[in-house]
């Protein structure tokens, strides 16, 4: 069964190729069938492989499949090869399965769009690239997938390319992530030069063997990889592209900018955990970046009007949690949160997509309202998603994973109280903004009429994801709930076990109660402010200081402004100044000098015969003088 591994990425890739070649000759139905079908088949194969992997683990708990040698020169011989271990199984299944649900959803969501085929082409290519990323056996192939998803992200954000604003957002996403990618590829140079391979497992073994913990080269390598991860996962300071990425169609946001691509950074760090273990300083940086980002994103989310931007900031903040987990060596916890987050965030986005579609493309939450009765499926899906995002205790999958991260941030050997407090504060803010969204969108007065109701292909994914968002967390229950944790056991075959401080406060029921309480308090606060005393809130928000703060948060804390002035404007200025080429004057200068010399000499060529003779006479005099006086 495992030998079929290559089929998993090959199916969506084949879908891409077929759609590309037959582009114009396919009906919408056929396009949908190929687009969604290839991913669906891929999901089936992936699940079969996962089952096979779990029931009869291959030797060493990892399976490696070599397709061919990419190239071989100068000691560098990366292969087109896939590597399957517990972590890649999780990623593979989530990507294909959630990917399939979103494709299914898209067949209805995009059905009236003129770029229907193009959409599925890009989506299939994305899924294929993402699978290559998570299955890659070496870092170069991983980089191929990494850039491939970046490109698809660009193409899909800019999908409605008639609007230049969308194209701008796509470009911004690609360029900002590419800044991070540059750090990653430099990291690859460093790793290859030092360890003479790019294959991940030997690389990690070699690093562990040759490098001392905290050595400069390990820190440099880890820091460079972190740079790539930060760009892709929209963490500070390369986070500015993600809110703008919401310009793409909603299923794109759900698949790429919530469930899968943005978590590639998490995957990369978890995959190269050995390096990060060797570089404690960088790992601390990961934790700090995660915590700061999650708080930053929570505050920004509170101020947004655009339903998708709220969700984008919430994605950023949830990935911040994952980074926090990675930073304190909670590898498995981060992967766990990745999975639950993929379920509930895809759910939220898809539900938001239903709302947007139903209201004829309206994004502003303050023009929604009262949709509870009109769109019950979306409402319940959204409630479940928001509850999961807020980590309401026991009944949501978000609770189990986020609670685990909060626990780990204090209870792990590398954890500390500051990170823990940050995580708790984030939890409170998350519940507030999540339920602010619920209350503003679904309660109160209806502002815009509903024009469209979702049919089964949009409803089914919502239902499935709702169920998963509830039960998805039961695979890893906390210690005080009985310690049922098959997911952890499974991941432990691929990832190091988190070192915890025995008897830490974090693992007590009291701490769990505290985190649960905070989530509930957040929901309660949102209820009070938005349902009971909305007018008072509006009055408060209208005051100068809160208003300024809100604007500041709305604009993502001025990062766009900063980057615009530090990078974009100087480069544009230089480009404008240098348009005619700065070197050109040197060469035109030579030409100009020649021209002047020509002018001067041609002035002597005046056509006056007697002047010529006179000059010849002078010349004669000079020559004769030279001869006779010598």
């Amino acid at each position: 069964m495992l030998q079929l591994l290559w089929i998993v990425p090959a199916l969506p890739a084949a879908g891409f190729v077929v759609l590309l070649l037959l582009n114009r000759h396919l009906s919408r139905r056929a396009t949908a069938l190929i687009g969604a079908g290839s991913v669906g088949l891929s999901a089936v194969v992936a699940i079969l492989i996962a089952v096979s992997f779990i029931t009869s683990p291959p030797p060493g708990d990892a399976y490696r499949q070599v397709l061919w040698t990419w190239f071989d020169t100068g000691g560098l011989a990366p292969q087109i090869a896939f590597y399957l271990d517990a972590m890649s199984v999780v990623f593979m299944v989530v990507i294909t399965f959630v990917g399939f649900l979103i494709h299914l959803y898209s067949t209805e969501f995009m059905e009236r769009d003129e770029g229907f085929t193009r959409f599925f082409m890009y989506m299939n290519l994305f899924v294929a690239s993402m699978l290559v990323l998570v299955l890659a056996d070496n870092l170069l192939l991983l980089y191929l997938g990494w850039e491939g998803v970046g490109m698809c992200s660009y193409l899909l954000i800019a999908f409605w390319q008639k609007d230049v604003q969308n194209v701008y957002c796509g470009r911004k996403a690609f360029i900002v992530t590419r800044v991070g990618d540059t750090a990653l590829i430099v990291g690859l140079f460093l790793l290859f030069t030092q360890l003479h391979t790019l294959e991940i497992q030997p690389l990690m073994a070699g690093a562990a063997k040759n490098w001392a913990a905290g050595s400069g080269v390990a820190v440099a390598a880890a820091a460079l990889l972190l740079g790539g991860a930060v760009g892709k996962s929209a963490q500070l300071p390369l986070q500015t592209w993600l809110p703008d990425a919401m310009a793409g169609p909603t299923p794109v946001s759900a698949l790429i900018h919530a469930a899968t691509m943005v978590t590639a950074g998490v995957y990369l760090i978890a995959r190269t955990n050995v390096l990060f273990t060797l570089a404690p300083d960088v790992r601390l940086a990961v934790a700090i970046i995660g915590t700061v980002t999650l708080l930053y994103a929570c505050f920004s989310a509170l101020a947004q009007h655009d339903i998708k931007r709220v969700l984008a900031y919430s994605t950023m903040s949830q990935i911040g949690y994952m980074f926090l987990a990675l930073g304190v060596a909670g590898w498995s916890a981060a992967i766990f949160h990745f999975m639950t987050h993929a379920f509930f965030k895809a759910l939220l986005f898809l539900a938001a997509g239903v709302v947007i579609e139903a209201l004829g493309g309206e994004h502003d939450i303050f023009k929604m309202g009262g949709l509870r009765r009109k769109l019950p499926t979306a409402f319940w899906a959204f409630i479940i998603g928001a509850a999961s995002l807020s980590a309401l205790p026991l009944i949501t999958d978000g609770f189990y994973s986020k609670d685990l991260i909060i626990e780990t941030s204090l209870g792990a050997v590398d954890g500390n109280a500051w990170l823990w407090l940050g995580a708790l504060a984030g939890s409170l803010l998350t519940s507030i903004y999540a339920f602010r969204l619920v209350f503003v969108v679904f309660f109160g007065e209806q502002q815009t009429p509903v024009t469209l109701h979702p049919r089964w292909r949009m409803k089914l994914p919502l239902v499935v994801l709702s169920v998963l968002s509830v039960v998805g967390g039961f695979v890893w229950l906390p210690g005080w709930m009985g310690g049922f944790h098959p997911f952890e056991t499974f991941l432990d075959t691929a990832l190091p076990v988190t070192q915890t401080v025995a008897g830490s406060f974090a693992y007590t029921g009291v701490a769990a109660l505290l985190t649960s309480l905070i989530a509930v308090v957040g929901v309660a606060l949102a209820t009070v402010w938005l349902v009971e005393s909305r007018a008072a809130l509006a009055r408060f928000a209208a005051r100068p200081t809160p208003h300024d703060v809100q604007t500041f948060w709305l604009n993502g804390w001025g990062f766009d402004w900063l980057y615009e002035h530090v990078f974009v404007i100087p480069v544009k200025w230089f480009a404008r100044v240098a348009r005619g080429d700065l070197v050109e004057p040197a060469f035109s200068g030579i030409a100009w000098l020649n021209l002047q010399a020509w002018r001067a000499l041609s002035a002597s060529q005046n056509g006056q015969l007697r002047v010529y003779i006179g000059v010849a006479g002078v010349g004669l005099a000079v020559i004769v003088a030279f001869v006779v006086l010598r």
């Binding site: 007697r610 006179g614 006479g617 004669l620 005099a621 004769v624 003088a625 006779v628 006086l629």
Partner: protein
């Protein structure tokens, strides 16, 4: 013979000076004939009777005849400024004074005696058709080319556009005024 040389030299110089100073073109040409005759005498005093004869026949005879015909054809007397303003002489005179001084200095007044006796037509012919026969052939080519060229140039019909005759009214005045610089 010596005296004859110096007299002939003096005549040649004076006549030549007159050639370039006369404003009447025909007069100038006649002085040129005088100058050429004087040079012919010089040749004779130098013991070269053959070239002296040729000087008279070809230069003073044939070439000057060409000049006179040309003058007659062109009716030059009605033409262009033949009188040269005094100031126009200054520059050229300074220049040639320098040049002449250099030449005389270079020649040096060392009184090399000339070879006694004359070199007659026989010897000249022997040399001409001996070692210099190639030169003679080339000279004949040159003369042929000149013949054809002169015929061609002089007879070419006027091509419009390229050579437009200048308007006759204003040109002479402007030219006459600026003649001084040289």
């Amino acid at each position: 013979m010596t005296a004859l040389f110096y007299i002939a030299a003096a005549v040649a110089i004076i006549a030549t000076v007159l050639v370039i100073t006369r404003s009447n073109l025909v007069h100038a040409l006649l002085y040129l004939v005088v100058s050429l005759f004087a040079v012919a005498v010089v040749f004779y005093t130098l013991g070269a009777p053959f070239v002296a004869a040729l000087e008279v026949i070809v230069y003073a005879g044939a070439i000057m005849m060409l000049f006179v015909f040309a003058v007659m054809l062109l009716n030059v007397s009605a033409d262009a400024p033949l009188r040269v303003p005094r100031s126009a002489w200054i520059g050229p005179l300074v220049l040639i004074a320098v040049l002449l001084a250099e030449l005389i200095y270079g020649i040096g007044l060392t009184n090399h005696a000339l070879h006694a006796g004359e070199v007659g037509p026989q010897q000249v012919s022997a040399a001409l058709f001996g070692p210099y026969v190639l030169g003679v052939e080339l000279a004949s080519m040159l003369l042929l080319a000149a013949l054809i060229g002169a015929r061609h140039i002089a007879s070419q019909p006027e091509s419009p556009g390229l050579d437009e005759p200048q308007p006759a009214g204003e040109a002479p005045d402007t030219r006459a005024n600026e003649g001084g610089e040289a």
